[in-house]
Amino acid sequence: MIEATLGSLGRPVLQAIASVGRVVLFALSVVGHILRPPFYLRELGASLLQIGWYSLPVVGLTAIFTGGALALQIYAGGSRFNAESVVPSIVAIGMTRELGPVLGGLMVAARVASSIAAEIGTMKVTEQIDALVTLSTNPLKYLAVPRVVAATLSMPVLVAVGDAIGIMGGWLVGITRLDFNSAAYLKNTVDFLEGWDIGSGLVKGAVFGFIVALMGCYHGMNSARGAQGVGRATKSAVVSASVLILAANYLLTEVFFSS
């Protein structure tokens, strides 16, 4: 009885540990291939376009609405303590340190991790990955490395753009709905914002980009057969990327700001 209970508890734990181990090995393998030739620059360029450029609208829209909502919330909360004047600085710090990278990362996870997993998963079930191998091409190097590099490079840029648009969203709400003076709002934003507020968010963005592409590639390459297998891989990629982004965000915040 006890043995059976322990067994039923232990099996999923062992499976979870094995899954983590497989992901870590996959990540190490991808990183190991980044600096070794051959380099697929055309694939890298296409991935930068797909992951970076085409994600700009969704990241921008997310940022502008978040910045606006943040300004309203901080104004409403601050008014309880007669601290309405903190709106510009808190919007700027909140966007650059947290909301810009996290919400941007989650939106890119939804858009990019899903599409990478579906594309590579379909390639797997239609034997395109086997075909790559028979054509003396390492699928990890050809498919995963350009996507992971592109996501790691483009996410900080997306975060930076998202930060700027988010702050602009707060400014727009501030001057149109909360009676802030435009010049005073912008001065307050610039005065209180420090370089590391922005830098920490960009570092987070790079880490989140790595996670997004890694999860997309890992689940795509381990997709089961058929439409259901590809669907499951896509779902797993988005869920795991989102959870890992939130977990990594907490860890990075501890490392950057706990003191």
């Binding site: 051959p38 034997e127 075909a131």
Partner: protein, 248 residues
């Protein structure tokens, strides 16, 4: 020569290959027949190293295929996949020239394109097809492009995985004739897996039947009809009754 000796492979409880022994002489065309799910594709993938056998040895010209320079080994092979396995994101000519523009002996893009167009012509496709994407082609055209890609680098050994599956009888005949022509013309060693008997008769020098995880029968295609092996007889005549169990 490709030689398989005591090759075993299982997936969980499913013992797919249970000691396969087979020799394929250089310059000959071997066709592996057998029912669906008997492990024909697994056998082929074991030779290419896409699937690792649990035990047994596979040698190519006396060299263990799992050892040595993998890229050099794969450079000797061309393969036509069952569904074509063309890369959706690349144009037809880029699919055909995929190997030609990569690796230490990579050709300039223009030269690779010329070769790709020539190979497309060889399989009966017009040069205009070169700039289309695979999704714009019919199933038969995709097979031809897959065939052009398999022969683009003029490999010594070509594998064909179910080359006529999903094609109408006329297109099947065209593909079979093309395969036979190309194999003879190139002097290549060919290994084809199929359960299409018209393909067997059109392509094969020798035939091997895989059943129950082992090679049940092997011999020249001319002796296939005369064999007394009940498994082969049931298979080639498509009989429901016989030693091979069928699910009804």
């Amino acid at each position: 020569m490709i030689e398989l000796s005591g090759v075993h492979k299982r997936f969980g409880d499913n013992r797919v290959l249970q000691g396969v022994n087979l020799s394929i002489a250089s310059g000959t065309s071997m066709v592996i027949i057998g029912g669906s799910g008997t492990g024909k594709s697994v056998l082929l993938k074991c030779i290419l190293g896409l699937v690792r056998p649990d035990s047994g040895t596979i040698t190519l010209d006396g060299q263990d295929v799992t050892k040595g320079d993998r890229d050099a080994f794969l450079a000797r092979f061309g393969m036509l996949f069952q569904g074509g396995a063309l890369f959706d994101s690349l144009r037809v000519w880029e699919n055909v020239a995929f190997r030609l523009v990569r690796g230490p002996t990579a050709l300039p893009k223009e030269r690779a394109r010329e070769i790709a167009v020539e190979k497309l012509r060889r399989v009966g496709l017009k040069p205009e097809v070169a700039d289309l994407f695979p999704a714009e082609l019919s199933g038969g055209m995709q097979k031809r492009v897959g065939l052009a890609r398999a022969i683009a680098a003029e490999p010594e050994i070509i594998f064909f995985d179910e080359p006529t599956t999903g094609l109408d009888p006329i297109m099947s005949g065209v593909i079979n004739a093309l395969i036979r022509e190309i194999v003879v013309e190139m002097g290549a060693t060919a290994m084809t897996i199929t359960h299409d008997m018209s393909s067997v008769r059109a392509i094969a020098d020798n035939v091997a039947m895989l059943h129950g995880g082992v090679i049940r029968w092997t011999g020249p295609v001319g002796e296939m009809d005369a064999t007394s092996d009940p498994y082969v007889q049931q298979f080639i005549h498509g009989k429901a009754d016989g030693p091979i169990e069928s699910v009804r």
